[in-house]
Symmetry: C2
Subunit: 413 residues, 2 copies
Amino acid sequence: MLETLGKQAKAASRALMGVTQLEKEWALTALADALEARSEEILAANREDVERFVAKGGSAAMTDRLTLTKERIAGMADGVRKVRDLPDPVGEVLGMTKRPNGLVIGKKRVPLGVVGIIYEARPNVTVDAAALCLKTANACILRGGSEAISSNRMVVSVIADALSSVGFPAHAVQLVDDTSRETASRMMRLNGYIDVLIPRGGKGLIRSVVENASVPVIETGAGNCHVYVEASADLAMGVDILRNAKVSRPSVCNAAETLLVDEAVAAAFLPMAAEALAPWKVELRGCPRTCAILPGIKAAEEADWDTEYNDYILAVKVVDGIEEAISHINCHSTGHSETIVTNAYQKANQFLDRVDSAAVYVNASTRFTDGFEFGFGAEIGISTQKLHARGPMGLNELTTTKYIIYGDGQIRE
Amino acid sequence: MLETLGKQAKAASRALMGVTQLEKEWALTALADALEARSEEILAANREDVERFVAKGGSAAMTDRLTLTKERIAGMADGVRKVRDLPDPVGEVLGMTKRPNGLVIGKKRVPLGVVGIIYEARPNVTVDAAALCLKTANACILRGGSEAISSNRMVVSVIADALSSVGFPAHAVQLVDDTSRETASRMMRLNGYIDVLIPRGGKGLIRSVVENASVPVIETGAGNCHVYVEASADLAMGVDILRNAKVSRPSVCNAAETLLVDEAVAAAFLPMAAEALAPWKVELRGCPRTCAILPGIKAAEEADWDTEYNDYILAVKVVDGIEEAISHINCHSTGHSETIVTNAYQKANQFLDRVDSAAVYVNASTRFTDGFEFGFGAEIGISTQKLHARGPMGLNELTTTKYIIYGDGQIRE
């Protein structure tokens, strides 16, 4: 069954290699229009999911994430149109050289082929992932969570119909109908059919994919991000950046989890920071030097330095200087986003050079690590690994390259 | 023990993030000089390997591959100096943009970190891999074959001494001393220490790595390459390209394994091809239409279309035209290298567009798929997967990128 999906996806991806930019734009328009035109069917399917979820005792917050409305469907359709209007990366030639023997060698951006995406909960991810893959001429195999299975089935059937209506292969977008763990595990080992697998979801899902997959994977998401206030920092700017990085949206991966502050300014900065975070009742967990300056806060344990709280909690450590800060970050970070607040030219450069994370900032909030904020116009996830893509992934990261070589009879030797 | 190697490699890779291009050049010079200065020690260690291998009944060809001589060591040292003199990719900024909010976002080429390499037999790979990793400021963990263990130990100890002598971390290049399969398997799952694992060797090794690794892997090497002679081809050129692709070095991955020929020219071309390959006693295995034109050759079985012979054997199939040729290739190829011989503009473009392989040629031999032939000046392997690197991998492919972001107090929202 999964093999059938794989074969169909592979065949669809071959057909997509021949489509033009205009044809992809027509397909995405048809897809967006169909979502709106058939919103009643989608809403009806979604009601089944919501009722089942509520009956099982799902939380109000999760129920809200699962629930579609006419407006939310319109928002999904608009998202598809925005993806449609982005520049098309496919077909770009990234340089062409002539070799001494006359061979002309070019490197051309082409689709990945078949992209597998394993994700959780929200049905809008189904539409978003399908649109990004279609824009880059990839076929996709989507495996959503069991909570949204009725919505996902209906959405994918609407997408397939829309694609067929403009002559696109309906199998370009397929859903794994079976949401069991066993099927997910088999999907992770569908070598020969899936070119790249991208997990989008919580830590458990990502760990499971990394541990079990034999197809190439892009690891996404985990973010234990640091704000480092260096001795020369503008302390008011440090407070603004820390507050923004910690409390503007604590549940996301680019939120800060640890504050590092130079000893020289700790006594001045820490009380300012504590006061700024007080309205959000942020729980501080400090190293001994921090606790000496802010008596009454909780003492940090070793595990705190490695924890992505995703909550109103902040670990705080006083460091001797930039060397200790960099080595603490490189030791404990997940390699997502880190920022230094400083006015010292050399310290800024040192931090940019030697911190080993996907996005390294000077004097700005870590919250900017995001495909939209970086100007990509889209985001398929944030890679925390070093192969292929690192940091926010836009359309370019859904492509690979191939060498195209023009000869006139060259043979070797 | 492997964890210790991992920790040491990680620490070394942090230190390497701070080295300059000049310092890397000094280190590579010291390394090359040390190989020559201590060649007697290396030769003595190599004699142990060779004696053990011969006593175990190793073949003459394999013994030759394992054996070092003073000249071969000088060649290895020269290889290191060539790598030293290549342009340094590390630190290049691949574009920098200013966002509406004033953030300046750059994408900078940086080392991968720790590269694991699992390889077989020849001790020269040890030096080659170490030099490429040092040039790109990566630490490496090398796991060679048991046959060359004495040579590898001595070579890595010479390298470590040379690195120490110029103030480089000796752990930048480490050897896995234990050549058991269990240790190799554990190396494939050394997440948190190894950033990228590259297997260099035969099919069995690569399959085992792909199946078992949980660290990111670059799959290399398998090559079921095709030569397609299209109806409009210059048949003499077709013969030259086929002969070069098949017999100039049949044991390598960019050698051709299957000939496809259009029906319109099959009766003319196949006898020419058979005659051209006769001096090398190439065994032909044909489809029924081929056998009708070349009576007496062996009939191909279904498995032949999927076989990388690495030998003087060629599968031959007559096709109806380019559609069948492209679909045969996309179905049976390993995605390495394919060539069309044609004089038809449209056919050339169709082949370049729709064949889904790392290197797609018009009117040239597949044997050119090679880092040196492509002008990279080095090669760490040939990737047949689509993530990160596709086709010959040079120094650029041993790097990743990170985003460096310059702000002046920006916060989000």
